[in-house]
């Protein structure tokens, strides 16, 4: 039985960026087992960079431990094999491949024989994917691609799911459904989630805790319901 007090991801003094342009200036945060943690912030605050630093897509320094194992110097494919799945900004679908191939690719690191049954489960959750399973993934709508991206990420049965701005470019109804689904996945499978979002209200609605990022440092943090009611946050991010 997972203990919510176990730390899945522990990050200390994270620094990183793109060559000469350093974006992250020493971040400290953690995600507990089974939690949904949200990172909020305006454009350019470093939210996407933070996720990319965790999944090993950029050069970074600092201490990053995944269930006690240091991954701060590991490369992306190895980090994936340790149980991290990252849904990048913009979905990262493989447009020329079929929907089914996209899902299969998600299970690339798996060596067991339950891949097919997992895929069937996802087709049950998102029937539209089953309808289009042989179509080019690039022909799907934005919302459908987002579903595909999430399903693909979960095909690897990760213990930590990183979601980068899942609401970006999607209609509000779709986004609402999407976030309901995230909450359900978290509840049913206990998958730990770290979500980066600009849509603070929606994100905080499904989160346990949140951090607010500003110019590469953590501006404030706290339980989700506290952040929602915080006046400063409301003014800055909720436009209230």
């Amino acid at each position: 039985m997972s203990d919510k007090n176990d730390i899945v991801l522990d990050v200390k003094d994270l620094r990183g960026g793109y060559g000469a342009i350093q974006v992250l200036h020493g971040l400290d945060f953690h995600v507990g087992d089974g939690e949904v943690v949200v990172i909020l912030g305006a454009n350019g605050a470093g939210k996407t960079t933070t996720l990319r630093a965790i999944s090993g897509m950029i050069a970074r320094t600092g201490s990053i431990t995944l269930r006690g194992e240091k991954i701060g110097t590991s490369k992306a494919p190895d980090i994936v094999r340790k149980g991290v799945a990252h849904v990048p900004q913009g979905r990262g679908t493989l447009p020329e491949l079929s929907v089914e191939d996209n899902l299969l690719v998600g299970a690339y690191i798996r060596k067991d024989n339950e891949v097919q049954s997992d895929m069937e489960q996802w087709y049950d959750v998102y029937p539209v994917l089953r309808d289009r399973k042989d179509q080019r993934a690039g022909s799907l709508s934005g919302g459908e691609q987002q579903m595909l991206a999430v399903a693909r990420a979960l095909m690897s049965r990760p213990s930590l799911l990183l979601l980068d701005e899942p609401s970006l470019g999607l209609a509000p109804i779709i986004v609402a459904e999407l976030f309901e689904r995230f909450a359900m996945i978290n509840k049913e499978t206990g998958t730990t989630m770290l979500v980066v979002e600009q849509n603070a209200q929606l994100a905080l609605g499904i989160a346990d805790r949140g951090y607010v990022l500003e110019s590469g440092t953590i501006f404030t943090e706290g339980p989700a319901d506290q952040l929602i009611n915080d006046d400063a946050i409301r003014k800055a991010y909720l436009g209230v």
Binding site: S55, A85, P88, L94, E96, L97, V105, Y108, S156
Partner: protein, 296 residues
């Protein structure tokens, strides 16, 4: 009329070689958007390996061909690991220069080791004609070259669509970052692409010089590359099926249009280049390529 039919068959069998070489170019282009200017030289070198294995080591022809393909695949994999992988895949300039350096170096090595006199290549296919009607004849050579492309295309398709490595290759060709994010190791996947390309290219040269009228020598693919590039561009640089269509089309252009338009045969190369220019002018994505062509 019968001359015309003969010409078609000639064009098809020439086209088969261009198709195989074009498929090699497409494999690398799909994965890296790079044109391997040394592809012809890889193939030529592989052809010499086959010749050595069969004529000097006494192996049966097809064993030699398969082994030669394997060896050239291994060499190409080695080249990818040492000379290509250290560079950022999105920065084309150093990579193009490396392929040009390989072009010069491999051509020179072949010239040093094997000299420049043309050599007879072992026959891969039964000689003589499969069918004859009047003056028209369909040689076994033509039949088998076409069978070879079909089989190669089939095997490649199976490899790419039904295996895990093939899936990884298609993923990397589609989106490098997303591929890394699902745990695909990009380097080894690209290496696989280079190896397959080299093997297919070697097969292409072998088929080309197995013809009773041709011989193997180090310069054999220097102009052959141009035909292959035109074929690949015509078919669409990232489409394997397009490479086959393009290769056969260029072969046909060479054998039909050139004589009928009264263009001297030296100009068949010119014809291929004209096709290339026209494709780039009017449909840069080629017949079957994905139109991810960014206009300036």
């Amino acid at each position: 009329m019968e001359l015309f039919i003969n010409r078609i068959f000639d064009g098809l069998s020439n086209g088969a070689t261009y198709a195989l070489l074009a498929m090699a170019l497409v494999m690398i282009f799909k994965a890296t958007t790079l044109i391997n200017f040394a592809q012809g030289e890889f193939a030529m070198f592989g052809g010499f390996i086959v010749m050595v294995l069969v004529l000097e080591q006494g192996l049966p022809v097809w064993v030699g061909v398969i082994l030669g393909m394997l060896l050239s695949a291994v060499l190409a994999a080695g080249i990818e690991r040492t000379l290509i992988r250290p560079f950022d895949p999105s920065d084309h300039l150093p990579l193009v220069i490396i392929t040009l350096g390989l072009f010069l170096a491999i051509n020179a090595i072949a010239g040093i080791v094997w000299r420049f006199d043309p050599r007879a290549f072992p026959e891969m296919f039964p000689s003589g004609n499969a069918f004859t009607w009047g003056n028209a004849s369909l040689s076994w050579y033509t039949v088998f070259t076409l069978v070879t492309i079909a089989v190669t295309a089939g095997l490649l398709t199976l490899l790419l669509n039904k295996t895990k490595t093939g899936l990884a290759f298609r993923a990397v060709s589609s989106n490098l970052e997303s591929s890394e994010l699902v745990g695909i190791k990009v380097g080894p996947t690209l290496q696989f692409g280079w190896a397959i390309a080299a093997a297919v290219g070697t097969l292409g040269v072998a088929v080309f010089v197995a013809s009773p009228v041709r011989q193997l020598e180090p310069q054999v693919m220097v102009t052959g590359l141009i035909f292959a590039v035109s074929a690949a561009a015509l078919g669409g640089l990232d489409s394997l099926g397009g490479a086959i269509v393009g290769g056969l089309a260029i072969g046909l252009v060479q054998s039909i249009l050139v004589p009928y338009l009264g263009i001297p045969s030296e100009l068949s190369l010119f014809a291929a280049v004209v096709v290339l220019m026209l494709v780039l002018l009017f449909k840069p994505a080629g017949l079957f390529g994905t139109a991810a062509v960014e206009r300036v």
